[in-house]
């Protein structure tokens, strides 16, 4: 606990903009050493205050790296926090008990065992990874492993469970206007848009509103700037139709103004991280500016940082950024930072400004002079000195000779400000280099996107706010569907014409176009990209190899591939490349911006883990019988009823007694209307006029390629009225399919999906009729209710059931379709009635085997994209005489009918007992007796779709899709299966026609 009146180590007296609460200390450890931060700190600010300067080692050269930004712009401060690698220390709020460790180092980052690599940069030119290590090829794994060990960032421990606690949520926000950025411009835009009563969402990545005004204390129009930001924030929060999301980075803005991002939960939030999507009518982008890095030798030394970083450390976290500072900057805001830091007790020894004399704010120059701080206009830093951290620096004029050295432990360096263009890039705004502001500016904006604030080059707070208000008004007007009014358009001059706008506000400032520091030499230690260790020298090498545009250099040298992306590297790389090509700087194009602009955790994107599935009305009953449930499409279905996954007992009980199956997921539909038959004729391949009342018509649907897509039963219900079933997996797309294939016809029919309305229970086995007779008084004898009949019967206490007599499993079988709410009653009734006949439930696996013994095809198991209906032996369903219905698939069936070389579905009987043959084994051709045993002809001839050993048949049967050359009845197949690598097993099988069980079909007709 900090004593009253005594400041903690490394801290400044907390000012009016301080976010840290010294009364609430938080203990944490860094590399096992105990440290103390305070509530409001980020991990990085607490470490910096505790004296940590070297945070990590760089990717390639293992150079020491320190705190550079406060917004996660580089991987310098990626650390392992509580064992989770690659956490950004700059943006992660400090919590008590955190354990923080450095990455890409052995031990302490101050003394890294791989640090010597930095001296061998000559051996690592741009693209060295691709160019040097690929010959001889067999040594590549050695190089790769060695490099991987030395390079890279965080390390995952395969034995550790990285499950993250806490709730992940997902929200879909509704707003007419979305505002990206909660600075002065964003807040003004939100307020202006809200005036018209529209719903506004405001997204700010930092935990507070205000942008750079939030930490500036300079007086402006009679009050400190942070008061101005505070007043705006208070108004925004008090406006009912503006919803404010802080700690909410935007990951991108997409087509039709879909804004995506995430919110990091505060302590009292019910979620830890929440992904959201906001489909807005219009979007105002006010994402602000950041320091453009200055490229000079050793510009990556710990102690070199952005102006914004040093300033925010001091003003927001009350951390002393350094004892003696030197500035090499190119923007008035950085000069203001120099004045402010000097006032806070940092000894500012000199300020170099890359701009020529006279282009600075005279007030700031005077303030610097008052504090005896020398200002060197037209100068910039040429190198930083010191091995592990900055100890001194050298400044030189950009033109002409001379140099000055200063001892310092803080070197604030930038080449002016650059706009954060990420959001504009994702929304596909056309960006072009603007020679006035020396930054990328939108040349053309997509519909409904507006830009405001300092990213347009404005610096005067009044101009920034005015541009925000203007953008907010325009966004509101555009949202309402109208064009912006002329009055509003006139005010748009604020953004473009310096000083000439109606209210006389200052326009955009002209920027700073410095490419790199003076006396750069080869630039072997001047970093353009911190994450990938890309130096100026590497850029030159890339260009010399012909990779002389940023997109190519990015691939070759890795510039901008790291977490910093375009933000640190983009503009500098583009400008330097243009110079190297000898082109004007206007031709410089930045590399593509890759989303997400700020990375959310994968757990957040995965969301709260909904498992969306359906349960049948009989789920509880099945569970009571000990069902093992498995997902089948969108359904959770009973797959087995015992631990014996061959389902021997379930199968034998159906064959010998009677089984009961919950077949509720079956697709069930009604189609009615004057043109219902026409629609059926279009999608089914058979003559559907045969679907008459009381009579099931079995048929199939094909697609335009003649492939089987569905099969089922159609039964007439009355005039222009039909009931039909589809396979379970197809139920969801049947309506779409019917309507698609009749979309040009304007037919009059209605199609109703009854799949969830009706449940179905199947009773199958020799005793099935006896069970049914006990629950109904209707006549279900073979004469009154023959095979493929359909009857409306009454079961139990008057439940009306549609009863279909089927034969899918190859036994006498009745399927009762009843309203879902009656399913449990009917199930109980049948189970009770069947007790004397040995009724037992059977599951999906047993049904799969039973139908395979019968040779019935399941779509996806025995049919696939290469085979048509005729190839799998179901061509008899196709009504080839019908040419007027324009049946879907008929032309393809005709074209493929006699085509040579097609695959065919065949049944087979495995010659000897071969327990290990499984689905998916490869048929390698016709088996012939050769030297040393059986041999195929070497060609892969197909594969086994389904194979099982049958206790009823006493042998192993199967179905295979094979080339027609081997699909000869009585022929023998050679089948191979790689049980273990290098130990293939093979067996032979004889082609026999299905069905294998009850080929005459007497059982199902009994």
């Amino acid at each position: 606990m900090a004593d009253a009146g005594r400041l903690p180590e490394g801290r400044l007296p907390p000012g009016p903009t301080c976010r840290v609460d010294f009364s609430r200390p938080l203990a944490f450890t860094f590399l096992g050493r105990p440290m103390t931060g305070f509530a409001g700190d980020t991990v990085a600010s607490a470490l910096y205050a505790a004296g940590v300067r070297v945070f990590s080692r760089s990717l390639k050269y293992h150079r020491p790296r320190g705190l550079y930004s406060m917004d996660g712009e580089s991987s310098n401060t990626f650390m392992a926090i509580d064992g989770v690698p690659n956490e950004c220390a700059e943006t992660t709020a400090l919590r008590a008990g955190m354990s923080v460790a450095a990455q890409n180092v052995r031990g302490d980052p101050r003394t890294d065992r791989f640090a010597f690599i930095d001296r061998f940069d000559r051996l690592m030119p741009a693209g060295f990874y691709y160019r040097l290590f690929h010959r001889p090829y067999r040594l590549w794994p050695l190089f790769q492993n060695g490099l991987r060990r030395m390079a890279g960032t965080g390390v995952l421990d395969p034995r550790r469970n990285y499950h993250r606690d806490g709730v992940r949520a997902e929200r879909h926000l509704n707003a007419e206007v979305a505002v990206v950025g909660g600075g002065a411009a964003g807040m003004s835009a939100a307020l202006a848009a809200a005036e018209s009563g529209l719903r506004v969402c405001l997204f700010e990545r930092r935990p507070w509103l205000g942008g750079h005004l939030a930490w500036r204390v300079r007086d402006f129009e009679g009050e400190p700037l942070h008061h101005r930001a505070g007043a705006l924030a208070a108004r925004v929060r008090a406006t009912g139709n503006v919803r404010v999301f802080t700690s909410s980075p935007v990951t991108g803005v997409w087509g039709d103004n879909l804004v995506t991002g995430f919110t990091i939960g505060a302590r009292d939030d019910p979620f830890r991280e929440c992904h959201w999507e906001c489909r807005a009518g219009t979007v105002v982008v006010a994402s602000g500016c950041m320091d453009r890095p200055l490229v000079f030798n050793h510009n990556d030394r710990p102690g070199v940082m952005q102006a914004g970083t040093a300033w925010r450390l001091a003003r927001m976290y009350a951390v002393r950024p350094g004892g003696a500072a030197v500035f090499s900057v190119g923007d008035d805001m950085s000069l203001e930072a120099a004045v402010d830091l000097a006032d806070l007790g940092v000894e500012v020894r000199g300020v170099a400004d890359a701009r020529e004399a006279g282009r600075q704010d005279p007030g700031l120059v005077a303030s610097l002079a008052e504090r005896d701080i020398p200002v060197l206009s037209g100068w910039a830093a040429s190198r930083a000195m010191g091995r592990r951290r900055v100890k001194a620096c050298e400044l030189r004029p950009l033109r002409g000779g001379g140099s000055r050295r200063f001892r310092c432990d803080l070197l604030v360096a930038n080449g002016g400000m650059q706009p954060r263009i990420g959001v504009l890039a994702t929304v596909k705004a056309k960006l072009a280099y603007c020679a006035d502001t020396h930054s990328y500016q939108p040349e053309e904006l997509p519909e409904g996107v507006f830009v405001a604030g300092s990213m347009t080059g404005l610096r005067d707070p009044r101009s920034i706010e005015a541009s925000g208000r203007l953008a907010g008004h325009r966004a509101a007007v555009s949202c309402r569907g109208g064009a912006a009014t002329t009055a509003v358009d006139a005010a748009s001059a604020v953004r473009r014409d310096a000083g000439s706008a109606a209210d006389g506000l200052p326009g955009p400032v002209s920027g700073c176009d410095i490419r790199h520091g003076p006396a750069l030499g080869r630039g072997a230690k001047a970093f353009v990209d911190l994450d990938e260790d890309g130096t100026y020298k590497n850029v030159v090498e890339s260009a010399a190899q012909g990779f002389d545009v940023p997109e190519l250099a990015k691939r070759f040298g890795g510039f901008g591939l790291g977490p910093g992306q375009y933000r640190v590297t983009g503009q500098n790389l583009a400008m330097i490349m243009a110079d190297l090509r000898g082109d004007p700087v206007e031709t410089a194009t930045p590399t593509t911006v890759r989303p997400p602009l700020v990375p959310p955790s994968l757990a957040t994107l995965a969301g709260p883990g909904h498992d969306v599935h359906k349960r049948t009305p009989l789920h509880g009953e099945l569970a009571g019988w000990g069902a093992v449930f498995r997902r089948a499409g969108e359904w959770e279905r009973a797959r087995y009823f015992s631990e014996d996954h061959s389902c021997r007992d379930e199968i034998l009980n159906v064959r010998r007694n009677v089984g009961i199956l919950d077949s509720s997921p079956l697709g069930k539909f009604r189609i009615h209307g004057p043109d219902a038959l026409k629609a059926l004729q279009r999608v089914y391949v058979s003559d559907m006029r045969e679907a008459r009342p009381g009579r099931c018509k079995y048929s199939a649907m094909c697609n335009d390629m003649g492939q089987l897509v569905d099969d089922g039963l159609v039964v007439g219900e009355g005039d222009h009225d039909y009931y039909f079933t589809t396979s379970s997996g197809r139920a969801g797309s049947t309506v779409e399919w019917f309507r698609y294939h009749t979309r040009h016809d304007g037919w009059d029919y209605n199609l109703v999906n009854l799949t969830d309305v009706l449940g179905s229970v199947n009773v199958a086995g020799p005793n099935a009729r006896r069970v049914l007779e006990r629950v109904t008084t209707d006549d279900v004898s073979n004469e009154a209710f023959p095979y493929l009949g359909c009857r409306h019967i009454t079961v139990g206490d008057g439940v009306g059931a549609r009863c279909l007599r089927l034969g899918f499993v190859g036994e006498l079988s009745f399927e009762l379709h009843v309203p879902s709410s009656y399913c449990r009653y009917v199930w109980a009734l049948l189970v009770e009635a069947g007790a004397d006949f040995g009724i037992q439930p059977f599951g999906l696996e047993a049904q799969y085997c039973l139908r395979a013994e019968k040779g019935h095809v399941i779509i996806g198991a025995e049919s696939e994209a290469r085979v048509t209906l005729t190839d799998i032996g179901m061509g008899w369903l196709w009504d080839r005489e019908d040419t007027v219905s324009k049946k879907v698939g008929a032309p393809a069936l005709r074209a493929c009918e006699n085509q040579p070389g097609r695959m065919k579905l065949v049944g087979f009987r495995v010659d000897e007992r071969s327990g290990s043959l499984r689905d998916g084994a490869v048929v390698v051709g016709r088996a012939e007796r050769g030297v040393g045993g059986m041999a195929g002809d070497g060609e892969i001839a197909g594969y086994v779709c389904t194979t099982r050993r049958s206790d009823v048949l006493g042998w192993q049967y199967g179905m295979a899709l094979v080339h027609e050359g081997v699909a000869v009845h009585g022929g023998r197949l050679l089948i191979r299966q790689e049980e273990l690598p290098g130990r293939p097993e093979s067996c032979t099988a004889t082609v026999v026609p299905p069905p294998f069980y009850d080929p005459e079909g007497t059982k199902l007709r009994s």
Binding site: W254, G255, D256, R279, V735, R739, Y740, K886, A892
Partner: protein
């Protein structure tokens, strides 16, 4: 990729609610006298919006098609209607009044 579509029944909705049904290429051709070639041309061939109708040499600018396409969409997570709309695949924007209904 994300955008919104105008369903003739439900109005502007997120594209996630819809299923794409391909370019409008006319009604199913009559089967009588239809050659396999003609059938597969109807099933498989698509015109590239903004591309040339013909790949023959000397194709003039006049052969360049409109960069718009009329296409089918199914409002599966909505009212279940198939409808056509005219859209520019380069910008993903629907063309005003392009809804065919």
């Amino acid at each position: 990729m994300t955008f919104r579509l105008t369903c003739p029944v439900c109005g502007k909705r997120d594209v996630y609610e819809f299923t794409f049904g391909g370019q409008e290429r006319g009604p199913r051709p009559a089967q009588e006298g239809l050659s396999a070639e003609e059938h597969f041309r109807w099933v498989q061939f698509r015109l590239i919006p903004g591309g040339c109708e013909t790949r023959e040499e000397g194709a003039s600018r006049a052969d360049v098609r409109e960069p718009l396409q009329e296409e089918w969409w199914y409002h599966g997570q909505g009212c279940g209607v198939w409808f056509t709309t005219t859209r520019d695949p380069m910008t993903n924007r629907e063309v005003e009044g392009g809804g065919g209904g």
